[in-house]
Amino acid sequence: MNISCRVGNLILQSPFVLASGIAGNEYSLLLRALRSGASAVVTKTIFKDERNGYLPPIYYESPNYSINAVGLPGKGVYRFLEHIRRAKTLGKPVIVSVGGTSIEEYSSVAAAVAKSGADGVEINLSCPHVEGTGTEFGSDPELVRRVVEEVKSAVGDKPVFAKLTPNTHSIEELGLAAVEAGADGLTAVNTLRGMVFDPVLEEPVLSNVYGGVSGRALHPVAVYCVYALRKALPHTPIFGVGGVYEVSDALDFFLAGADAVQVGTSISQRGYGVFEELKKDLVDYLERKGYASFEEFVRKKRRWF
């Protein structure tokens, strides 16, 4: 069963990709995800300079959701370039997530990683818990447009994905702005702003007080976002992200219009084995349903658009 797919001009052996920020700060971890069956990886969001991130607690899990406020720690782009080169040694696409607290930072980081061999750039316009970056750019279509334009002109022909926030009244508006400004594709979505208290200790758990909700709770919202984007943009490559645990979660995204999915939080519960399991379960599903390939399934099943 052929489960390869195309997302823009990226050719993927399967529609299962590692999401940004999930143990994606080191080449050896990126290689591990790729060896474990991810068809591509998105790195941790990279900034120009070193960032410490927040002190723990930075992560909390309930049966219905996870929430994190890691605070985008990282060594800065120049120390990361070597990691891009090393992560590429398996020949699978390495997409680098770029961040910035200014349009200039976004584009200079993007230029640097593109030059070091990134196969694509994902612009993090959607981190919900760090001031001065992420949603502060990504909630305003005009800023989305400007960031995407600058990044696109900085990276030349490397594909650029705009990663969008679900914390909006109109994800279509944000997606349209990104695509009009030259984005080659979209990633939907980042986490929803949320908060958790420990009820016994009567305290907000996260050191940052609030954070981003991912996992199962995010799933139906993320599926809707992909659907809304697909309606508005019939031909734009779209990664679906949010609560992919089982193959049925991935199918939701494919049916809603995603070309491939990224996998994040579920790795904390299912480990890296999740990639091979998803691939196997997708093959089983397609066989059982009598599809000849993943591509055929996608082509046939988009009746509601």
Partner: protein
């Protein structure tokens, strides 16, 4: 349940900067940890830090905590009655096999997982344990009787010679390894000590496991901050205990 809740039931100072803190469960206790496994201790409005489980009974959890100046300063000052959260146990601990002659090297607050190992080894057939604790000076040694009472041969080293062997714990270990045969060398302590111990194990052809420390924040394998550089291994899920084999992969990368 993410956090299991505990009340501090005692706090005993062991050395100038090391305390033994005992917690008592107020809801459901965490499940049984093996020697080397760790938990995240959440002190409300302060933070969270990884700690090896030192002793565990049904409802009780014991830690040995050193004051490093950050959240651990608050942890060593936890007072009786204070409520905290605990999640875990996480990670993989030390391997315990029958009919094995263990040499354990504990550097300072690296003692707790190895003391727990001594306790587990007690009831394992054919196991003998030599437990070495190293510190700068006699006043910084602690819980030696605990180790002895559990059947370990206990030896100490101090930098200033105020008690036991004068010198580094790895020098003492080197001496012992040249004098007798050990099947396995297990270590926990500062990274420099761990690397030196690893060198010894290689030289003497002894099986090695060491419990390491990295920047543990999520403890569940998502943030990536605890990576053992170049290995693709995460301390929080694949460690904190690594064998020589796993660590050599670390050096070769990829």
């Amino acid at each position: 349940m993410w956090y299991h809740h505990y009340r501090v039931s005692s706090n005993t100072q062991l050395t100038s900067n090391i305390h033994r803190v005992v917690l008592e469960s107020t809801d459901t206790p965490i499940s049984k940890a093996k020697a080397g496994e760790f938990v995240m201790l959440y002190i409300p409005a302060v933070g969270e830090l990884p700690l090896s489980v030192f002793k565990q009974k049904e409802e009780e959890l014991h830690f040995v905590i050193e004051d490093y100046g950050g959240p651990s300063s608050r942890a060593v000052n936890l007072h009786k009655g204070e409520m905290v959260g605990v999640r875990g146990p996480y990670g993989r601990g030390f391997t315990l096999k029958q009919n094995t002659n263990y040499l354990l090297l504990a550097g300072g607050s690296g003692a707790p997982p190895l003391l727990k190992f001594v306790e587990e080894a007690q009831s394992t057939p054919g196991v003998s344990v030599t437990y070495l604790l190293g510190a700068r000076s006699a006043s910084e040694l602690f819980l030696l009787d605990e180790a002895r009472s559990m059947g370990a041969r206990v030896m100490v080293s101090t930098d200033d010679g105020s008690m036991g062997y004068k010198g580094l714990i790895t020098q003492l270990a080197e001496k012992l390894l040249s004098e007798a045969t050990y099947d396995a060398l297990y270590a926990c302590g500062p990274e420099q000590m761990l690397l030196a111990a690893m060198g010894l194990a290689k030289r003497f052809g002894v099986y090695f496991e060491g419990s390491f420390v990295r920047d543990v924040r999520c403890a569940v394998g998502v943030c990536g901050l605890c990576v053992m550089e170049g290995t693709g291994r995460l301390l929080c899920v694949d460690g904190p205990v690594f064998s020589l084999h796993e660590l050599e992969a670390a050096q070769h990368g990829g």
